[in-house]
């Protein structure tokens, strides 16, 4: 059983307090970092092969490297705590049970990139995590672990906690920036990228909560150690959020070399009620669905990409044989239609269109051309939008229809479901 890193304090009572954090080795990573140069820290992160754990899987050191070397403008570090990807809840656990790990991690990052003002954008619905994290920040300030000359290092860092107000798109880094700036969460045109021109027109780095929480141990144990835990291209462990038809839904921390089969059966207890696995979404709802035959894949960024899906936010949604796939897709289509910010035409119009087609199929009025139209609509919109939100919607649109085509055809041909015969999907509550 691999060593828990991110989750090692979770079962300790009062794990969210500074006292417990310090008793369990907290803030040693930061102390070590202050003895290093920012360049050396960046190098350690590079060697660690740490990749972003919010969804995009982008190498963290490479992202930090995009900052301009010679800009007089202040730099901002934004912590993306706007967790919203369906199937994902790991950041919530980190905020509630180990907030100081985030504080330490973001301070290390801020020091490495030369930022003295950091924003933590927490989704509005996360009220308990917000309170716990705010208390932890308060403790940190009191203890000289935030604010002026942290740990006597001479490095200053102010933290502003900014609550969201209910919009999934604010998890997209430039949507988050727009929201932070006091506007609608409309993503911005790229280029310019946030590292060059981000929040308030200044160079900005946006990192996920979990990504930053890894930094303290990377500092104390070294980048090579972290890299060795994983694959050639991705180091360390990550927290997998498992939900749906499993015996033990919850967060599980495993090295990125773990397979989906291990995760579902060895850790989450397999499928309850003696049922069979039908399909799994491995990386949050925006990841392509995998069939029961496709779960022998390692759950690292490249492994899942090669398997035709993505690691995304590591939100694993398990579906057993009782699941009507067209219905599952409709639920997601409703999600994307509701969360589309509306700024650009392809996403705004087609997310609504796809939801309507699926609702019609489920209500028994599907037409033979519907599945091919769905595929065509998705393919035509992919790659044409301002941000990757729509591409995230396209992944389920295409993969569910392609891999479970016969279920869609059955609904259309028979006007009802073959998986759950006689079940009427009532009150198709749309938006």
């Amino acid at each position: 059983m691999a060593e828990l890193l991110l989750m090692r304090r979770f079962e300790i009572p009062d794990s969210h307090t500074l006292r417990v954090y310090r008793e369990t080795g907290g803030y040693q990573g930061l102390a070590k970092a202050f003895g290093m140069t920012p360049v050396a820290i960046l190098d350690a992160v590079k060697r660690s092969n740490l990749r972003g754990l919010g969804g995009a899987g982008f190498p963290t050191a490479v992202k930090w490297g995009f900052l301009p070397k010679d800009s007089p403008k202040p730099r901002y570090l934004i912590v993306n705590a706007d967790e919203g990807e369906p199937g994902t809840f790991k950041d919530r656990y980190l905020l509630e049970r180990d907030p100081h790990a985030l504080i330490e991690g973001m301070t290390i990052a801020a020091y490495a990139i030369g930022s003295h003002l950091s924003f933590v954008y927490i989704r509005g619905e996360y009220i308990k995590p917000f309170r716990i994290f705010s208390d932890a920040v308060h403790e940190a300030y009191e203890a000289g672990l935030l604010g002026k000359s942290i740990l006597g290092s001479g490095f200053d860092l102010e933290v502003i906690i900014h609550r969201g107000a209910g919009a999934y798109i604010c998890g997209e880094e430039t949507g988050l920036i727009s929201s932070l700036e006091g506007k609608k969460g409309w993503p911005k045109l790229k280029p310019p990228f946030p590292a060059v021109r981000g929040a308030f027109d200044c160079p900005t780095i946006v990192n996920n909560v979990e990504t930053l929480c890894h930094l303290p141990l990377i500092m104390t144990r070294g980048g090579e150690w972290f890299a060795a835990l994983g694959t050639k291209t991705q180091g360390g462990t990550r927290m997998y959020s498992v939900s749906g038809h499993v015996v033990r839904p919850g967060v599980y921390e495993l090295p990125v070399t773990a397979t989906l089969r291990e995760l579902i059966y060895d850790h989450a207890g397999g499928i309850p009620r003696g049922r069979r696995l039908k399909a799994v979404v491995p990386g949050g709802s925006s990841a392509q669905i995998l069939t029961a035959e496709e779960i022998d894949v390692t759950m690292d960024v490249d492994g899942l990409r090669d398997a035709g899906t993505m690691a995304g936010s590591a939100g694993v949604i398990v579906m057993d044989e009782s699941t009507c796939i067209p219905e599952a897709l409709w639920v997601l289509a409703r999600f994307y239609a509701h969360e589309s910010c509306g700024q650009c035409t392809p996403c705004r119009e087609s997310t609504g269109w796809v939801e309507k087609i699926l609702a019609r199929i489920l209500s028994g009025k599907g037409r033979p051309e519907d599945p091919d139209n769905l595929l065509d609509i998705a393919r035509r919109g992919a790659g044409t939008t301002i941000c990757a939100f729509y591409d995230g919607a396209v992944n389920p649109y295409l993969s569910y229809v392609e891999k479970f085509r016969s279920e869609f055809d059955y609904h259309i041909h028979h006007g009802e479901c073959d998986v759950q015969p006689g079940r009427v999907v009532t009150g198709l509550e749309t938006r």
Binding site: E85, I160, H162, R163, K183, S243, R334, E339, V425
Partner: protein, 162 residues
């Protein structure tokens, strides 16, 4: 709470908080979301009067405040009940029975989704993923997450609401 006919305005203490927030950020406009959250707490919901008032505090056109308020789901533009139940309806919750939770709440409360009970006690919404899938089916009750919902648990939750 603003009384009928009274002009919408923050108290001096609330105004101090507004100015503090505006000074906190590199651009004062960034304080708009926290100030709107403050306004919603102070005035229960965000009416056009409140939007206009807040616009004045930020030197923004009221239309741009209205844009922000209508964009985010946590800003209420109509009065809501004392308690807000937000039932998650996205994938894991749906697979584990969210439609039944919704149906049961409609039955127990006697209202449709988005409505408020006649006694002003409860407003009931369905929302997208609250990222508590491990406790599906679940809902947010005011500032708490309540999961692994069954009829019995829902009954107990409703009973405890004042």
């Amino acid at each position: 709470m603003s009384l009928a006919g009274q002009m919408t305005a923050f108290t001096p203490a609330q105004l101090d908080e507004v100015r503090r927030l505006q000074a906190l950020y590199p651009d004062p406009r960034a304080a708009l979301l926290p100030v709107l959250q403050l306004a919603q707490e102070a005035f229960d919901f965000i009416s056009p009067d409140v939007e206009q008032y807040v616009a004045g505090l930020f030197d923004l056109s009221p239309a741009h405040v209205h844009e922000v308020v209508t964009f985010y789901t946590l800003f209420f533009t109509k009065p809501v009940g004392r308690h807000i139940l937000s039932v998650c309806r996205t994938l894991s919750c749906h697979l584990l029975g969210a439609p039944d939770v919704v149906a049961y709440l409609k039955e127990r409360l006697g209202i449709e989704v988005g409505e408020t009970t006649k006694d002003g006690k409860v407003t009931f919404f369905t929302v997208e993923c609250l990222c508590a899938c491990e406790m599906a089916p679940m809902m947010q009750v005011n500032d708490r997450y309540e999961g692994h919902l069954t009829r019995e648990k829902i009954d107990r939750i409703l009973e405890r609401l004042e």
